[in-house]
């Protein structure tokens, strides 16, 4: 049931993108999220599209799998598109049917915004698909390290993040298990009126909460029992290494940015 969800899931493979340093991937994603807002005409969007699909290709994630996993999100993209098309009232009138008026600017905005949204989703899922949760938190912790000077709890944040990422699959499994147990007791999750379906979630959510709290407590005890005392003086088993490919990726992104600035209208 939850098997198809791919958000936050790591797909092991040997690829250029997998081998990149998590720090460079994080920086690239962060910059990409900013840079994408530079695009404002057809040519710049094509450029962004080429870049995104190039990265996807390099990651060797099967397209069919990606499509199946992102299908639910595509609905959101479509929804954004329709919202823009129907509610932007600028530019020349293209089509009119009763109270529905569609303007040129609306269609343009709709397509651009949903494209931007789509590329953002692709790139950000690429990060989690090609980087293990531990790598992501390690990278983040190192990148945010300067913030320790202002007493920001970087290590604790990173720990919280890795714990929550680590338990996503567990929680999914648990959800699946309890769902099945309740289906066996006659709950119908997939059909019936909306009100009934919302009610059907209760027998799922309560056991999930109960077990999550229990698990959190057990985890805390297990960590204390093994002498966990926070980040002070803690060394790492896996060391991050910045390679030439990482620098190259940043350069490519820089070139893309310059092109976007030159080509945008």
């Amino acid at each position: 049931m939850m098997e198809k969800m791919i958000i936050g899931r790591y797909v092991p493979a040997e690829s250029l993108v997998h081998r990149l340093d998590p720090r460079s991937k994080l920086i690239i994603i962060f910059l990409f999220v900013c840079v994408i807002f530079l695009a404002n005409n057809f040519l710049t969007y094509v450029l962004i599209g080429i870049y995104t699909f190039l990265m996807l290709g390099l990651s060797r994630i099967p397209v069919r799998f990606l499509y199946a996993g992102l299908k639910p999100v595509l609905w959101l993209v479509l929804f954004t598109l329709l919202l823009q098309v129907f509610f932007t009232k600028e530019g020349s009138l293209l089509y009119e049917l009763g109270p529905i008026k569609i303007y040129e600017e609306g269609v343009r905005q709709g397509i651009f915004i949903s494209m931007r949204f789509f590329f953002l989703i692709l790139m950000t899922s690429l990060l989690t698909l090609t980087t293990t949760p531990i790598e992501i938190t390690d990278g983040l912790e190192t990148l945010l390290n300067p913030l320790k000077k202002v007493r920001f709890p970087v290590h604790e944040m990173a720990l919280m993040m890795s714990i929550s990422l680590r338990f996503i699959p567990t929680l999914m499994q648990e959800t699946d298990k309890i769902m099945k147990a309740q289906i066996a007791r006659g709950v119908d999750f997939s059909s019936g009126p909306v009100k009934e379906r919302i009610k059907a979630v209760i027998p799922l959510l309560i056991p999930l909460f109960v077990s999550s709290f229990k698990r959190a407590e057990e985890l805390a005890i297990a960590m204390e029992a093994r002498g966990y005392r926070g980040g002070e003086g803690r060394t790492k088993y896996r060391l991050l290494s910045w390679k030439f490919a990482d620098t190259l990726q940043l350069i490519i992104l820089a070139v893309l940015t310059i092109l976007l600035i030159l080509l945008r209208s």
């Binding site: 098997e3 099967p62 199946a68 066996a184 007791r185 006659g186 056991p207």
Partner: protein
Amino acid sequence: MDISLQNIEYRYQANTPFERLAIKDVSIDIPTGTYVALIGHTGSGKSTVLQHLNALLLPTEGTVVIGNHEVKAKQKNKNLKQIRQKVGIVFQFPEHQLFEETVEKDIIFGPMNFGVSEREAKERARRALKQVGLTEEILEKSPFDLSGGQMRRVAIAGVLAMEPDCLVLDEPTAGLDPRGRKEIMDMFYSLHKERNLSTILVTHSMEDAAKYADQIVIMQQGRVVKQGTPLEIFSSVSELVDMGLDVPEVVRFQRSLEVKLGIKLGATYLSIEELSSAVAELLRGAPV
């Protein structure tokens, strides 16, 4: 109710990089009133087979026949709810499914979902509670205030109250103390006899399999490798040992006795009583 699995195959997450073949070419017949024990290592596909028995998983290949219902691979299947009413599953650690405010509400949840009236459901709850060896005063308590053992029993009562024709048990006594284990297994057995249920038990305990089952099915790496009565299965000890499986203590004792005394008893005995009388017979007949 007859249940029959015909050449079923199941793949988890078909068409993704995570695709994994869980079971292949599994055929098991479970006529009404049979007690079947499913044995195998962790990951051998037992739980996957079990979830086909009430259409929680639909086979990717093959057919599952449950009573008058037929569940085929690659077909839109309707009326799954009717199947689920007939087949009650007690999952591993069933206490994880408890969620209501009171024990009573939790037990009647299943029956009410299948359209049983509230009065009837409450009556069933009382009966089921008695069957699992609890008293009525806990009906008004919150299930989360109970001890682990009590929670387990309440959860089992919740399945029994659906009054299924077929009981599917996935290691129902894992993590219980030996006494509770025996009580619950005996309770399932007497229920099985009383109501002429079909019972499928997934277990790691060879003792339980030898004691209760009419048929034993051994699974390995997603396939059925051996099927037969407990006597047939436990007569070939070496084969079981090769598969890395245990044999009941009684059988192990008999084997080591035979080796030590250099004799052969006529048959394999599955209970202490049978074995001891056979040994007594032997001693009386031929002094060693």
